[in-house]
């Protein structure tokens, strides 16, 4: 990825900066000249030296055993964690029972009416259709399970996030303490959160809910804090000048002024909760994610698709409805009378209850068996046909499996062996150089320490394996993403065509991407890379296109008036001016790719992701935990290495 960014970096750098970059390089070279001979003299091996490794599996294994032994007797579990666990189970159970009691018709009616009130008729219709489709695919019960789990997790995330955000929004010190933590939590792959909660709560619904809460609360906290801090100081001053108390200032000015951010936070929290609720199937979440997980385990693409479609529908509906609600409440439309709105809400509630009761009286609250369509079989037939005809031997083109094989042989393998063949200290120096050139010495230090930590933990080789997959995926993502982004920025038609596609792709949970790649490429490292590519591409395209389009039109006009050709405009004006956006695109691309490459452990991606899955499946928590920590470290490295000095708002999904 360095090769891709280097030209833009250089083009955008004024002389002073370039000299500073040279100074940094010289300093690093000097450090290398001193350290390398010492290091090679002591530990001569090319791979991470055993002497520097700390074996954590034994203490971790003991800790895990201790927790399992004491879960029913130790006061910490009896009086605190046990209650948390029970409360979570109770809540999820209660919501699930309510959903079942409402029946398919009641739930669909209620969802559609809510969508109608907050987002309009069209989305209400879409919501109803989406729920009916879930039933049609025979996935009504798992959908309700996922919904129940999500409802509890989202509620907890929103409360937790809003409280943290409130604290960080009102107190500078809390903000300074919380921000780096939240920033970091947002770049970590979902898989990294699974092991610690399993260690404490064991596999099951409480662990799944808590992992989801931990994963989904940061955006709410972040955006609440941002919204409260970003309130127009002029308005706050005016409010103070009229003699408002601190509480009045918060309730009448700061919170309403932050409503856009609050709603965006809610939207992101819901999307991340859905994403995690699906992934958490590997720690016992049940529901739709579990169906996909089971199906993928037996490479039953049809069954995976039948469960995957409801996930996508749910994601799209939730995203559109909350997004539309945000736009509506955040808009400048005329005042809506409170009484009328209350009447309509009341009417909607009554209608939903009426539908639920009517269907219950009619005696069919469950989704009728006869109305389900089994798509698994035809899909599997299609996949079989594809396996037979498209996997390999297509004249001239080869075949999907051939492509995957070539990619593995010609790109992934050399990259992996190249990385693993590099002396370990040189990897550290490369990381330091990249991070320092793009960021500050602090980011460089964090990156180097995190990279070294993977070695200390004894997972140097699998970390580099994961890294090689990430690098390959990021390189392809950036080439495709920048090219598409430039096309979308330069042509309105391309942008119009791309927008709906990007919208849908950006809302889908990571897990779902595994289904089509398994259908196309089978299992292995190449499909994991492909899934990562598809997942990260939309964000990269979007950020690139936006960055290019937001380039100062006056500068562009000036270039045009001087007779610059289209290519000259792009190379000399747009790309240099859009450099921050491009760097952000790289950063986002890397973070998103890592998240999916790790999940790729479920479809044969191997490396760290596989260690986590293996640890969970075998009950070998020590291995899983070490891999989880290594994932965290790798996430830190990749984020810090590509971190532009100023961070922007992030994609939530």
């Amino acid at each position: 990825m360095a090769a891709v960014t280097a030209p833009t970096v250089r083009a955008g750098l004024p002389g002073l900066l370039r000299r500073r970059a040279l100074a940094k390089l010289a300093l690093l070279a000097l450090a290398a000249a001193v350290i390398v001979p010492v290091v090679t003299a002591r530990w001569a091996s090319g791979s991470w030296p055993d002497a520097l490794t700390v074996d954590l599996s034994e203490p971790l294994g003991r800790a895990s055993d201790w927790i399992i032994d004491n879960r029913d007797s130790h006061p910490l579990f009896l009086y605190f964690l046990g209650h948390v666990s029970n409360a979570v189970v109770l809540c999820v159970r209660a919501v699930y029972l309510v959903l079942l009691a409402a029946g398919w018709a009641g739930v669909t009616a209620a969802a559609a009416l809510v969508a109608w009130r907050v987002a309009g008729v069209r989305l209400a219709l879409g919501t109803a259709l989406a729920f009916l489709a879930c039933g049609l695919l025979g996935m009504w019960v798992p959908t309700m399970q996922t919904l129940a789990l999500m409802a509890v997790a989202v509620l907890a995330s929103v409360v937790l996030g809003a409280l943290l955000g409130l604290a960080a929004g009102l107190s500078d010190r809390t903000y300074r303490a919380l921000r780096p933590v939240l920033d970091t939590m947002q770049v970590l792959p979902a898989f990294a959160y699974l092991l610690p909660v399993v260690l404490v709560f064991g596999i099951g619904v409480p662990a799944a809910v808590l992992a989801t809460v931990v994963y989904a609360a940061p955006p709410m906290a972040r955006l609440t804090a941002l919204g409260l801090r970003g309130a127009d100081p002029g308005v706050l001053e005016a409010v103070a000048s009229l003699g408002a108390t601190a509480r009045q200032r918060l309730v009448t000015a700061r919170l309403p002024l932050a409503r856009k951010e609050l709603l965006l936070g809610l939207n992101q929290t819901i999307m991340m909760a859905l994403s995690m609720a699906v992934i958490a199937s590997v720690i016992g979440a049940g529901g739709l994610g579990d169906r996909v997980y089971q199906a993928l385990a037996s490479v039953d693409v049809g069954a995976a698709l039948a469960a995957g479609i409801p996930i996508v529908l749910l994601a799209v509906v939730l995203d559109r409805v909350t997004g539309a609600a945000g736009r509506r409440l955040g808009g400048d439309g005329p005042e809506i009378s409170g009484r009328r709105s209350a009447l309509l809400w009341g009417g909607s509630a009554v209608l939903a209850v009426a539908v639920a009761v009517a269907v219950r009286l009619a005696g069919r609250p469950e989704w009728p068996e006869a109305w389900t369509v089994n798509i698994a079989e035809p899909v599997n037939r299609a996949v079989d046909w594809m396996t037979a005809h498209l996997y390999s031997g297509v004249p001239y083109l080869g075949g999907t499996a051939d492509w995957a094989g070539h990619f593995t042989t010609w790109v992934l393998d050399p990259l992996r062996s190249g990385l693993q063949g590099l002396p370990w200290w040189s990897v550290l120096f490369i990381v330091a150089t990249l991070a320092w050139l793009i960021g500050t010495w602090r980011t460089a230090l964090t990156a180097v320490l995190a990279m070294a930590a993977t070695g200390v933990l004894g997972v140097w080789e699998p970390s580099l394996d994961t890294l090689s997959q990430v690098l390959a995926a990021v390189a392809v993502t950036l080439v495709l993403g920048f090219a598409t982004g430039i096309a979308a920025a330069r042509s309105d038609r391309v942008e119009r065509l791309l927008r709906p596609v990007l919208d849908v792709f950006q809302t889908m949970p990571q897990f779902v991407y595994l289904i089509p790649v398994v259908a196309l490429f089978g299992v292995g490292r190449a499909p994991a890379v492909a899934a990562a590519l598809v997942y990260a591409l939309p964000a990269v395209v979007r950020i690139t296109a936006q960055g290019l389009r937001q380039v100062d039109p006056a500068a562009l006009e000036a270039a045009r008036s001087l007779g610059a050709t289209g290519a000259q405009q792009l190379r000399q004006v747009q790309l240099p001016l859009a450099r921050p956006a491009l760097l952000l695109a790289v950063n986002q691309g890397v973070v998103l790719v890592l998240a999916v490459v790790i999940i790729g452990g479920l479809v044969g991606g191997g490396a760290l992701g596989y260690d986590v899955v293996f640890g969970l499946a075998q009950g070998d928590l020590a291995t899983g935990l070490v891999a989880g920590v290594a994932i965290v470290c790798l996430g830190l490295v990749l984020d810090r290495v590509t971190q532009p000095t100023e961070r922007r708002a992030k994609k939530g999904a």
């Binding site: 308005v235 409010v239 000048s241 408002a244 400048d332 005329p334």
Partner: protein
């Protein structure tokens, strides 16, 4: 002409109330931003430093340096200066939106800096309300609710505050827009909402912080006239911050001209234009059309002969030079300055020209230069030119 009338009424009121306590009394006020700001006003060595030197020595910036003035009841007190002169900081210090570093502020004789939180809130809620340059409206509330906001935080009931807000909305000319949101209004309309919000709490003093700087010139003129009208109708005390000299001259009964945190001159518009205190002020007022600011009182001289004191058009002493020029030009004779039937002096075309050209010696009440020979005027139309304003 509005300005002239407003000035007249205000001056009248100001003089009648001059004996009472000033509304705001500011004495030796300092506001220093930066580390350990407290030491700056206390240290005579530091206070003597120029701003740049002070910053390099202490890292502090003195936004307001040793400012003293009184705001009299019923007057429009203008604080004028370029950006960075400290005027906006000064007005925020009055209600402690910015906490002053040292000095004394009193409102109706009551110490502001000694107020506790509740008392200060009371001050902000009932006695002084402010209109801001960037309006500071709440975007999620309707116009009516914005105007009623001040009353709402005072705890006034919904229906009462809404009916009071409705009156004020009508007063600033926004009828029919009560239910719109600020985002749907033009800049001028938004500032009317800001003005209405400040008026709705019926404060003793209105503080304006460059309220019209963000508006188009035409709308700005409308709004200035609106303020003049409000002042004429209600006689409310106003403190008006501006960087626009013409606005200051148009609205102000008295003007404090600030530079680098200090008040370099404080006086009536006529004093500022007629006798600038230093080169900075002189440079500042150079372009001002003097004949529209200076009054005949400053341009007149003692009548040379009894005949001169008895003839010619009569003008009041507060009439501007440009109006006197009209009278003199129409009759061709020097005009008499008459106050209460008593002739105070005369103004002839040379003296008037001197004012326009800026060669007139200034505020001195008696003419000093050698009297030019007066050609006796022709037939004077005393009736036509003698309308006293």
């Amino acid at each position: 002409m509005n300005a002239v009338t407003a000035t007249d009424t205000a001056t009248g009121k100001a003089t009648s109330a001059a004996a009472g306590t000033p509304v705001f009394s500011v004495e030796g006020l300092w506001k220093v931003f930066g580390p350990k700001a407290d030491r700056v006003p206390a240290d005579p060595e530091l206070t003597a430093l120029a701003p740049a030197e002070l910053r390099s020595r202490t890292g502090c910036t003195a936004a307001v340096r040793d400012v003293s003035f009184d705001v009299r009841k019923g007057e429009v007190f203008v604080v004028m200066g370029l950006s960075g002169s400290g005027k906006s900081t000064l007005v925020r210090c009055l209600t402690r939106l910015i906490e002053p570093t040292s000095g004394r502020i009193a409102i109706d004789g009551e110490d502001v800096l000694g107020m506790d939180k509740a008392r200060l809130r009371e001050l902000r809620r009932h006695r002084a309300s402010m209109v801001f340059q960037h309006f500071g409206l709440l975007p999620h509330r309707s116009v009516l609710d914005n105007v009623a906001y001040g009353l709402e935080i005072q705890g006034v009931g919904r229906s009462e505050r809404r009916s009071r807000a409705r009156e004020v909305v009508a007063k600033v000319g926004l009828e029919g827009m009560e239910r719109r949101r600020p985002g749907q209004l033009s800049g001028g309309q938004q500032q009317r909402v800001g003005l209405a919000r400040a008026l709705a709490v019926d404060p003793e003093v209105l503080l304006f912080d460059e309220p019209f700087s963000a508006l188009d010139p035409l709308i700005r003129r409308d709004m200035q006239e609106e303020v003049v009208r409000l002042h004429r109708e209600e006689g409310r005390t106003m403190v008006f911050i501006t960087h626009d000299l013409n606005e200051a001259l148009k609205l102000g009964d008295r003007i404090a001209l600030m530079r680098d945190g200090r008040v370099v001159q404080l006086g009536t518009p006529e004093e500022i234009v007629g006798s600038p205190a230093d080169d900075y002020v002189r440079e500042f007022v150079r372009e001002v059309p003097r004949e529209q600011v200076m009054t005949v009182r400053t341009a007149m001289r003692a009548p040379a002969t009894a005949e001169e004191a008895g003839r010619g058009p009569a003008v009041a002493p507060d009439v501007t030079v440009s109006e006197a020029i009209e009278a003199v030009a129409r009759t061709g004779t020097p005009a008499r300055v008459v106050d209460d039937g008593r002739c105070l002096g005369v103004v002839d075309s040379d003296a008037l020209l001197g004012v326009v050209a800026g060669t007139h010696p200034g505020v001195a009440p008696k003419p000093v230069a050698a009297l030019p020979a007066q050609a006796p005027g022709k037939e004077a139309d005393a009736e036509a030119g003698g309308e006293a304003v």
